[in-house]
Amino acid sequence: MFNSLSDRLNDTFDRLRGKGKLTEADITSAMRDIRMALLEADVNYKVVKDFVAKTKERCLTAEVLESLSPAQNVVKIVLDELIELLGATESKLVLSSRIPNVIMLVGLQGSGKTTAAVKLAYMLKKQGKSPLLAACDVYRPAAADQLATLGGEIGVPVFRGDGKNPVEIARASIREAVDHMRDVVIVDTAGRLQIDEQMMQEAVDIKKAVKPDQVLMVVDAMTGQDIVNVVSTFAERTDFDGVIISKLDGDARGGGALSVRQVTGKPIKFVSMGEKPESLEVFNPERMAKRILGMGDVIGIIEKAQEMADAEQIEAAERMLREGFTMNDMLEQMRAVKKMGGMKGILGMLPGGQRALNQMGGNLDESVFERNEAMIMSMTKEEREKPSIINGQRRARIARGSGTTPADVNALMKQWGEMNKMMGKMRSMTQQMACGGKKGKKGKKGKKMRMPGIPGMGGMNMNQLMGGANPFGGASGGSEMDMLRAMEQQMRNKR
């Protein structure tokens, strides 16, 4: 998401970086690029105009122009302004002490209200609440069926009422919630155009009937310039409290999201990024702004990895240290990487990763994962636990069994060898630490070390991939968690 915008801004700043000192003309030219990029990203025309004017003014101060690194300063200013535009602080769902709490969703047709309602319900359920979904879309055929099916899948009851009068259904759903001890009601309404007076009035009536604690507007990330007209009317009529941006898992640059906050002053609370019920994330303006500027989303990766790393995996890591790295561990790791969105997903979140990806033609051969998996699956139990016993004959058999060539098996073995070596080093390091030695300082060891920690990357040199900077420092091997923590550390040091 937002990739193209960050690409463009990166190009602009690469040009600025080449110069020691910036002139007013340089700034003007950079601002023109930024304006164009923002427009192509569907940021509203008026918002762009204000943004560029404000940013330019800040960039033209003597402090910036005469500083030692003017380009960095410009980047920082653009980033600051962007964060501000997106809303400076994280804004979460505000629930009151009233039981039941009521959340009402509004939006245009096809913006993703029903999906968002289910995701919200799922999130609340995970937080220990007992939500109830109210199906108030009586217009679109089978809309209530859709909600009922999805509600059934996540184990949240759906109230359908008489299926005729949306205001009545909403009102009755509150009684239903009280009767059945549900503490949050999520009211899913029909999609409506902001110029449809009758339908807008209906939304107002539902709001009056249930007095929601939160009214959330669902906005499609792909919406163009018209978003301003849409959200301002909805803000005026329904006075919503916040926004959910949907379909951000596509490649829409989502500039509309930037405009919403600016035009209505309402915060963006969540972003919805996939088809699964758990793919609703709390909106984080700083992270988003950094991503826009191609500064990576390291925190995002760590959070994601943390989610994936359960107690079982930590135990596995400890066992690996004790007993060495087996093919089973390698398989686990590959699957974990896959779960996090594959190499492409992870790289895309790294600082500069998106650019590295683009330089490689935007494609990473993820089929390596499948090939490696097939090879490991073709090994015997013994071979997987003790890969060192795999000889030429066994390699040939594994290649036949997995539909690969012996050369592929060799590559896999080599990767395993390197990782096992790393594991050995880690072992001695942790032993040193355990023996009361000084705390092993990360980043001290082996600056030029290749990064074999991620299986499936073949012989890809991470140094080359990351454009010269070695983001992994001295962290090596081990679990992805260690690697990611080290990366984050490195990022912090850099700043």
């Binding site: 245009l108 999906t115 055929p141 792909m222 163009g224 007209n229």
Partner: protein
Amino acid sequence: MGFFDALSRGLERSREALNEVFYFGGEVDEDFWETLEDTLVMGDMGAEIAMQVTDDLRDEAARKNLRTARQLRRALSERLSRVFVRPDRDIFRDTPSCVLFVGINGAGKTTTVGKIASDMAHRGKKVVIGSADTFRAAAIEQLDVWGTRAGVPVVKRERGSDPASVCYDVLDEADRLGSDLVLIDTAGRLHTSPELMRELAKVVKVTRKRAEQMKRGPMAVHVVLVIDAATGQNGLNQALEFNDALGLDGIIMTKLDGTAKGGIALAVASRLKLPIYRVGVGEQVHDLQEFDPDDFARALVGEE
């Protein structure tokens, strides 16, 4: 209500914006061109096309000595309408024909299939609907309701089954019934998901193959991208990706009854040279109308 009137009503706001541009004191100056360009950008046609159109118009104005608002307005609407490709046939009336509807989530595919089925059944065509959206909850039920309303059979399988097999079934059924028009709804998907795009490519392939072996002779298969008029510049990516994966035949634009200007249609049409088969200007069945580039441009520019 005719297409032009419906559009004019829908595009009222953008016309207001352009009216302001054209309300100049008789002098065509630098400001005029800049404001015109900005106004076009606000219509979602993309900064690139907006600049190109403005530059072209500028040249033309200089060459032909156009000075009045009326002259410039006409030149602009002509320039815009030239961007569009005219379809060489109407894929819904010119039967036998099989049409697959593809697009991202929430674009309006299912509703469009329902409306076209009603409209064509009303015009005496023998229509059959295939429900190949086996993913979204209640998509099949939604289409079923449309089928009942239109009095058209709907071929379906349970949710979660292979969409390509539904296509095969619906063509079997069309063979049995001797249908003229087969409309197939597919699950919405983001063009950035390679797996889902591959699945769709298979659906199209299977449909094409089966359609060749119809008893009454081969049936032409058309793949139509349904796109929301409010879509911004990402619409171009959508169209490019869907076209790469499937080979599109044309576009249907929905939800032009809001305040969105639908400028993305211009961007897509000019980039991919694809015709626009229908435009949705309202909720009713008859609001899904045939697209007339001249009317669209005239309504957009507000030519009287």
